[in-house]
Symmetry: D2
Subunit: 314 residues, 4 copies
Amino acid sequence: MEMKDVLEMGQRLRNWGRWGPEDQLGTLNFITPEKVVQACRLVKKGKAFALAIPFDSRGPQTGFGGRINPLHVMLASGADAAAGAQDLIPGGFRYADDLVIMPLQCATQWDSLAHVSYDGQMYNGYDARLVTGYGAGRNSIDKMKDRIVSRGVLLDVPRYKGLDWLEPGYPITPEDLDGAAGRQGAAVEAGDIVLVRTGHMALCRSRGSWEGYAGGDSPGLALSTAPWLHEKQIAGVATDTWGVEVRPNEPPKSFQPLHMVLIRDMGLLLGEILYLDELAEDCAADGAYEFLLVAQPIPFTGAVGSPVNPMAIK
Amino acid sequence: MEMKDVLEMGQRLRNWGRWGPEDQLGTLNFITPEKVVQACRLVKKGKAFALAIPFDSRGPQTGFGGRINPLHVMLASGADAAAGAQDLIPGGFRYADDLVIMPLQCATQWDSLAHVSYDGQMYNGYDARLVTGYGAGRNSIDKMKDRIVSRGVLLDVPRYKGLDWLEPGYPITPEDLDGAAGRQGAAVEAGDIVLVRTGHMALCRSRGSWEGYAGGDSPGLALSTAPWLHEKQIAGVATDTWGVEVRPNEPPKSFQPLHMVLIRDMGLLLGEILYLDELAEDCAADGAYEFLLVAQPIPFTGAVGSPVNPMAIK
Amino acid sequence: MEMKDVLEMGQRLRNWGRWGPEDQLGTLNFITPEKVVQACRLVKKGKAFALAIPFDSRGPQTGFGGRINPLHVMLASGADAAAGAQDLIPGGFRYADDLVIMPLQCATQWDSLAHVSYDGQMYNGYDARLVTGYGAGRNSIDKMKDRIVSRGVLLDVPRYKGLDWLEPGYPITPEDLDGAAGRQGAAVEAGDIVLVRTGHMALCRSRGSWEGYAGGDSPGLALSTAPWLHEKQIAGVATDTWGVEVRPNEPPKSFQPLHMVLIRDMGLLLGEILYLDELAEDCAADGAYEFLLVAQPIPFTGAVGSPVNPMAIK
Amino acid sequence: MEMKDVLEMGQRLRNWGRWGPEDQLGTLNFITPEKVVQACRLVKKGKAFALAIPFDSRGPQTGFGGRINPLHVMLASGADAAAGAQDLIPGGFRYADDLVIMPLQCATQWDSLAHVSYDGQMYNGYDARLVTGYGAGRNSIDKMKDRIVSRGVLLDVPRYKGLDWLEPGYPITPEDLDGAAGRQGAAVEAGDIVLVRTGHMALCRSRGSWEGYAGGDSPGLALSTAPWLHEKQIAGVATDTWGVEVRPNEPPKSFQPLHMVLIRDMGLLLGEILYLDELAEDCAADGAYEFLLVAQPIPFTGAVGSPVNPMAIK
């Protein structure tokens, strides 16, 4: 597949106008009220899984492109109180406050539909120049603030293949996705948010280092999954990798071409850097690969992404 | 009531050791798996309400104590792409990235149990000096990353009283809470997260200004609600105000004394600056004041609070 | 004067190409090695004046346009050390570290020649689109890192006029500048950096508030000073106001039109928010209005401005 | 030498009370007005050297202890203007603004006298607990805002020894300092600010990487230089290394012990990460190793350090 084929595929799978000329939600429109009700009915055990990695300075970022790890600093602390610095507060009240500096793409995150563009346009045909230093005039993440609640389905590809993890560079195909879903007994349906586990984070943990995780070689979705994702009418897809799609990218002279099709053409919600290993263990143990997923963003006005702590509730 | 009475009440309502000497979750322990399952059963309409205010520079903060409003900046944008600054990226991929600088207490938030201390101790007897410039060694917000899922109940006090909002300085009593719950037909139960609407945010909106919201006079919970909150065995309480409790504070020479009892002694989760007006309208319309509440924090390691976009799902 | 006259004046005073097609220093080229030597010879008393205001959260910024006051936070402190948080450091060493978040235009500052543009061009004809989210590709402040050393001359306009301060809205004319220079006995020469005192900061201090300082009405240079500044071949001009030029701006439907001419056309270094009152007292006392000025920027790569603590040494 | 010897030396060289019980300037008191005048007289060529390294994300920091490299972001840009985002600004004015996030110890810097303490005390006997999350109550860098102007002397140790750079781990002795000064013909005098070149930055440049610079092995001042620095009555000392003193530190179980003596006991101003190579070339060429040094900090209120762009003017 060459870039012209990618662009042609983007043209073919394009959802622009499908939900009206003013739409800024894309495939989240596949989540209906009925879907939300059904998703809540999936909860049987009352157990929640937090799918965010720890937000701290030991995260996977290397500083490239300004993407540092979250920098958490204290504005006031118990140590300050003990040092007498809060003695003027009446009644004995003592407190701690803190602050964070973080790229919105630094750790577990949703990409907004304003995150990726090409040929001067973003999802639904909006001019990419509507995203400026003042924020995104269209397709910003805050538009999705109350919409990311649905049925979640975990597709644990390495487990299906009998592996601890997929090798970096392994392209996950539609056949892999169907195979995992079939083996797990959880069919992917319209409106679902699909969590694809590659095991790449487990590999990093086994090595004791994030080395190579951010932007390096990685297993991930092949370009050929785009029609599959389109046809299934899923609301979103998220992985335990830095960038959803396989790396090195296909075709060679490209950068994240699947993002171009999925975000800009299809309006598909993409999630990255999810911690799926504990959830995967539980799914393997009880055989239930479907759950309620509540993964709302923080509504940063005009933002092109958001940190998120997705809750999978079984 | 004087400060000595507050401290005595704190002593009486103290939950230290109740869930073991190593506990860092406090009243979240009241949320059982069964409770989670039941809460999910409450969802009938498939409609979600985002209870966070917009996270942007037009928020309520005034800079006091370092609490600025979220500062959202772009690391890259569509305008940059149009200017040619991304021309080296192969394959036509163009992107936008962003970064936020924000106090964790700047907008809709959870206070962790490390947020408030007195007499050198925080919840469960931990030394307050475990909270330093390096973060909170105990009771940090990340401990709660997968625990804030439960039944939510809205107590709309002004609506119960036939008012648009409670006046600043109005102390909400246990009778008000019981009265609202009774009128609404939604009894407060163990493990619930109780959302108390005061209308203070509606007042600010009607004025078109946050003036006085952050730290100024405000309606809020009276000190006398502490035993009520304790007896009900609720998991958390949150309001549409800056600081949960009534201001000016009671007694006069004090600062947020109810925080001292609720957070430090009881280990109760407190939420602040929630946007409850739209949810309240819906509850008044359909008569259902109970719902699934999924309000997970972002797991900042060692943090004493977290921004949150609580989802009330009906 | 209307905008078309401003633009015409800009055309007339334009220094583009004057120092070659690759120049990024503008009028700093007027500072010769001989000038530097002469400036150093002016030092007689061995007394230095720091012309920066305090960099802290009590500064003049209001948050408009993302311009917050400097936010200074501690990464580690003596209180932390006392709380035992540094006990692992061997040998007894204890330390404090800190961090600042600040707009480069938040307090006493130099505008780089990339700060202002119009008609798509900046100083020396460079395309304004060379300034993107990745920084300024031309005319950035770091280019000036070793060039802002020269003779400084203080023109204390209110003192010359027998006033404590000039009223907001007062346009300082060439006659005022000549009058002050004449009265003070310090003629403005080629290569000088001219500090124009309006007394506006003294007015704020007398009121005890920065209210209205940032972007509000202010005394300042009239548009008619542009030819004067050009003819004198000065290297830079700086004031004790937020924005150098008189506000409300002349003509009515404009914004900082003098900046357009001075920065973009002339390539003149502009400094803002300088604390001149103490220096002015000293100059009035000893009658010496000339001094060595060393006012180097911090060399932020690609930045469009820099905080600065200008040193006037007499 | 063991830590007890270090502490004994600290006791012996202690300058507490030397300039009064309220002093917060330490050895800067050695700089007299006459000294400033004499320093200005040293300027012969009118050539200034900027001794700061570039402040950008490619700096030497690794994130350790929260010390990231400066993160420079744009608040507005020419690209935004071209995208139409500034079209509402009247009169054609277009602008760029920016913001920096930086540890004050991230690049070329002064340590304030509040930066290092031991046994609960900092310089002049102040309680180390006066440095809290709210800043330094004593010995902060802003106290020095107009005091760091003096004669600078470069001691180019590797050049004196006929080397390109000193090897990491090489301890510079008083004999080395005297030798370099003698060879260069520039005696160190009271009130001087001494710049010691080790060549460590040149080594990094030759390798094309900062690897190991921040906190790694490095040439630097031996503990035995403390009495020399005390006796000479210098005002400050700065190097082209991360931490002034030799690393690995002497004695083995210690961390920056020379800092303990120099900053906390002597009240000596320390500067780090200075770019001295270009200045050194010039000094070697013209034989003049003395110059005017103007190296004022940015006056961050309550800060324990400051970025600085020291100007050596010859």
